[in-house]
Symmetry: C2
Subunit: 347 residues, 2 copies
Amino acid sequence: MIEDKNQQRTQLSDLGEFGLIDHLTKNFKIKQSSTVKGIGDDAAVLDFKKNKIVVSTDLLVEGVHFDLSYMPLKHLGYKSVIVNLSDVYAMNATATQVTVSIAVSNRFPLEALEELYAGIETAAKIYNVDVVGGDTTSSTSGLLISVTAIGEVNNDTEVYRNGAKPNDLLVVTGDLGGAYMGLQVLEREKEVFKVNPNNQPDLEPYTYIVERQLKPEARQDIIKLLKDLDVKPTSMIDVSDGLSSEILHLCTQSGTGCDLYENKIPLDPQVISTCEEFNIDSTTIALNGGEDYELLFTISQKDFPKIKANPNFSVIGYMREESAGIHLVTRAETKIPLKAQGWKNFS
Amino acid sequence: MIEDKNQQRTQLSDLGEFGLIDHLTKNFKIKQSSTVKGIGDDAAVLDFKKNKIVVSTDLLVEGVHFDLSYMPLKHLGYKSVIVNLSDVYAMNATATQVTVSIAVSNRFPLEALEELYAGIETAAKIYNVDVVGGDTTSSTSGLLISVTAIGEVNNDTEVYRNGAKPNDLLVVTGDLGGAYMGLQVLEREKEVFKVNPNNQPDLEPYTYIVERQLKPEARQDIIKLLKDLDVKPTSMIDVSDGLSSEILHLCTQSGTGCDLYENKIPLDPQVISTCEEFNIDSTTIALNGGEDYELLFTISQKDFPKIKANPNFSVIGYMREESAGIHLVTRAETKIPLKAQGWKNFS
């Protein structure tokens, strides 16, 4: 967490806008056959033949979505791509391209942007997407990253939020609440650091949840797995704002109710132990934490045998008639209405 | 320029993120047949059949790209769409969709964002594009708008920056320097306003250039006209950073030189008179002013008869061998090397 005061600093003004873009993007390779023209013209040119495309966009703002006192720039670059790819996968699509725009104040030297772009490049490489455009500009304060992700689907395989039917099973991938608890640990260490800058934080017991916060992954693997298992979800969304919020989206858009079983919500042991340490209820965290970037989807009951043995999936409830409402069935078997706290960033 | 202190103010936190998006986008209509799914899922779904698509993105930052003391929010919303559509047209493509993301500090009430979105909606309506997505988030300071524009081209009609050949004619649409001189007038009035807030500025003599700055248009009409005239430019770019900068892009990417004739550069009489008033050389303004959003392109000489009688076009020079260099031929018939000052926003 200690800033290295001796690091090399090249002023952005030394390069100018075009020099900066060239410098930051010169290593980016085009790998997707759908990319006809990437960076370097007024627009990228893409050719998806007969396939449909999906487009999603997100803004990440310093001081709102990330804190550079514990978020390394390389991780931030990586995460900014991941959160957008997650939206593409949530459509059951293959991610193919991203554009990345940044607004940056002059307190950032070139070397900082190189770190950021190294993370972007790593994500693009691992997830096999091309960086095909963007904009680089100055800001009056702080750093802002805007990413637009593009993907493709063929043969009407896209999955919307509105296709869930009563009796469909509600399934989530991975586990929940880790990213939020990782953030709590990082925030606590930041406060300790303010009081005692020589204190070396021991993050060893929190490795998994800190990584969930700082270097999340998008579930590209699940899209492939669902295809291999021949399962097309009836509805799907990614878990970015917390499980409650996403369930409410699926139910509202599909016109269904839902019973969610508290004892089925997948939690990593580290999330449970850290929740105990912080004296927070782990179910509350899983329901409202956000930033897990897992996939939440519904499937027809006939598809249950295809997924039941797979450790990637947890069946956490089932969809009901709209009139039945949307409930959490607690461990004590009481039913309480599900409310979204989600991520309210204007409060 | 006087802020109305009595206007209605609804706090953004009263709506929450999803409520805000719903509220701002509820009037947006889908008109393009290529839009399968617009706002409301993890991603938009678009179907361009066999057509290729083009994608372009731009960030507009308060205090860098616009000043709300003289830029009405409705105009800003309009302009944020226009500058992106201009990039799509510069590919000889038809613009079809945009995504619009904003980061906004809590000093903006809902009514301000409604104004901004009214401008976005107006641009979308006039230019026949669908708003299919975006993100709305808070910022720690000021307003930032990120727009991604998508367009389509069929039958390999896209035009890149790199196709110019020696002896091709260099053509520009409309006239140049107006947006920059409009900005100078607005900046001057802002200074006057600071000294004497009761002074009513008389902008009547500057109507055209102020409109070029505050409410620019993108040359959608030119793309249609070129098609009707059966002219496919050999290279094309939009004039956003100033004529010099754009000529250098075309020459560098095409591997050509260029002779640009000073006496052929199209200037509106209001630009000339305002330049005289400000004691600035109008050629310098046309070369380096930027934000004109005209189209600059090259055509084969055989196509000259098709465009020569058309008042939309000015032939301002011709392309040469790379070894001949890139020059401005002045009214005094001296040749001076063309340099880009362009728009250096990191200095």
